[in-house]
Symmetry: C2
Subunit: 326 residues, 2 copies
């Protein structure tokens, strides 16, 4: 069971690479190195907790740079915290590795750590085990009591917005896997959108004041929008022509295929949110779309189901998003 | 990347098997099904957070019953919370599966859920992904402010106690793997000690009043005792003849090999704790050892290092505990 001898003990591994990897926070009373971490919950706040796993060969190509894997493992969890309108605080890292490769660990910790420090997230604990490369991060954050954004608050008539330019990461993954040949001017940007996604943490926190419902776009925009609508007990319409697509994605795919990918590709880690139309002007004044990088792409409707329309006509799609088991 | 079609979507999987799997708790404001869970921290308490991963073929044989895997994935984390003197509250489950096998999931959820309900732990969230069988649980609990037990509080002269009968689980694993042939009267008990370990949660909470340092015995008693001593800045002596070994383990191995296994085997999930000798009488009066199932096995000493003695003579061991990467 216990595998071949390797240079470093688990204990040394954890200590060396992760003890000072994240932000240093005063609310971590006891961090990495004991049986569990001790953390101080701020009064008046609810705790927000999420976990996401990345598996080599499933969620990223085994060829991905270690720094990207470290970045993405934290980013996908930051994106969930952002979708709740919360502020991240503490991470636990469960890292399963086939071998204790010091160069890989150094890079992984650099990718994880620099994103953690950028969001003031402390790495408070973890577990290192031997096995197929798998990374599970648990992220804890805070939100003022009763103020969290959920998927369930949307109402018919709400305007539906999305941040960023969905589809970029899906194209980047296809390039990384050799399934898509993009022009040299477009490829580096698209690959980076897959390898180093930007969780919209600051936007999520600000949206507490404006959005009625919010979801993290990770499994495909259309499928995730349908989840928000279903949780809110409504349907939705997405305006195909309004889907924001980046110039490199347009360059790589042309306008129609780019927008189809924006609807169905995964790995975006953008925010999709529903706003009362009566609040939209204030939202756009306080959080200018050009600066905060979001755009209206549809509406919530009373009729159930998710439809995409183009010039008022319903479009058909065979694939409504990434399902891990579908 | 996305694998072959299977019967159930990730979303349905999570909902069906895990939404009502654990205890129902009023401090879970929002559980499984949104981007993150919303939890209410009780005032005056510190949050205790831990994570542990089990990998098929590394931490358990691939032949292990699914109910045992579910039980163990939670038990190993409960044991960490117990070692802090804390009370568990909320779990997140990150489950990576090669396929969506409904019979397996039903059994897994039954094993996880019955232990969770026994300890009033709610399953507040999780992630289900496709890949090699790997289970990561994150467990959150509470401890009164400043009252947590750590590894670091022991002092020279403290009495060292251990709960249960270490070595049983190691023998059980060897039987499960066909490496050990135990008598028919002993084998079922030993296998069960591996497959269904008992985290000492109630004992851990009570030890807040008596112990100065505590650690979860998971990687081998001698190695874990050395970690406690090192964190406390002292050394330790274990009395070989005082090591508690179960009747089935004695029957399977005889007294010397049984005690060697008790020192070095992993997977015990017992508590090792250090007590001021001036408090020992009170400890044994308030928590009778026969009822709470623990025993003195050694002392902390000023001299650094970990030694095992038999009739006053130091014994030599080649292997001081399970290291995942050693």
């Amino acid at each position: 069971m216990h595998g071949a001898s390797m240079a470093l003990s688990e204990f040394e591994l954890i200590t060396r690479y992760f003890r000072t990897c994240g932000a240093q926070r005063r609310d971590v009373a006891l961090g990495v190195g004991d049986d569990a971490a001790l953390l101080e919950c701020p009064p008046g706040m609810q705790l927000v907790a999420t976990t996401d796993t990345l598996v080599a060969g499933v969620h990223f190509p085994t060829s991905a740079p270690a720094a990207s894997i470290g970045h993405r493992a934290l980013a996908v969890n930051l994106s969930d915290i952002a979708a709740m309108g919360a502020r991240p605080a503490w991470a636990l890292l469960a890292l399963t590795l086939p071998a204790a490769d010091e160069a890989w660990l150094t890079e992984f910790a650099a990718g994880f750590g620099s994103l953690a420090r950028a969001h003031e997230v402390a790495l408070a604990g973890g577990d290192t085990t031997r096995g197929p490369l798998t990374i599970t991060v648990q992220l804890l954050g805070h939100v003022p009591h009763g103020r969290a954004l959920t998927r369930a608050g949307g109402r018919a008539g709400d305007l539906l917005f999305v941040s960023g330019s969905p589809g970029d990461a899906g194209a980047g993954l296809a390039i990384e896997q050799g399934r898509l040949a993009a022009p040299p001017a477009a490829a580096p940007y698209l690959r980076e959108r897959f390898l180093l996604p930007t969780p919209r943490v600051a936007l999520g926190e600000r949206l507490r004041d404006y959005a009625r419902a919010c979801i993290d776009v990770s499994d495909g925009l259309l499928g995730d929008a349908a989840k928000l609508a279903a949780a809110s007990g409504v349907g939705l319409e997405i305006f195909f022509g309004e889907l924001p697509v980046s110039a490199p994605l347009l360059q790589a795919l042309g306008p129609d295929a780019a927008r189809e990918l924006a609807l169905t590709a995964g790995d975006d880690y953008e925010l999709l949110f529903a706003v009362d139309p009566a609040r939209a002007a204030e939202l756009e004044r306080e959080l200018p779309p050009a600066q905060w990088n979001y755009r209206q792409i549809g509406v919530l409707r009373a009729a159930p189901g998710a439809v995409v329309t183009r010039d008022g006509t319903v479009m058909e799609f065979s694939h409504s998003g990434y399902q891990h088991f579908a």
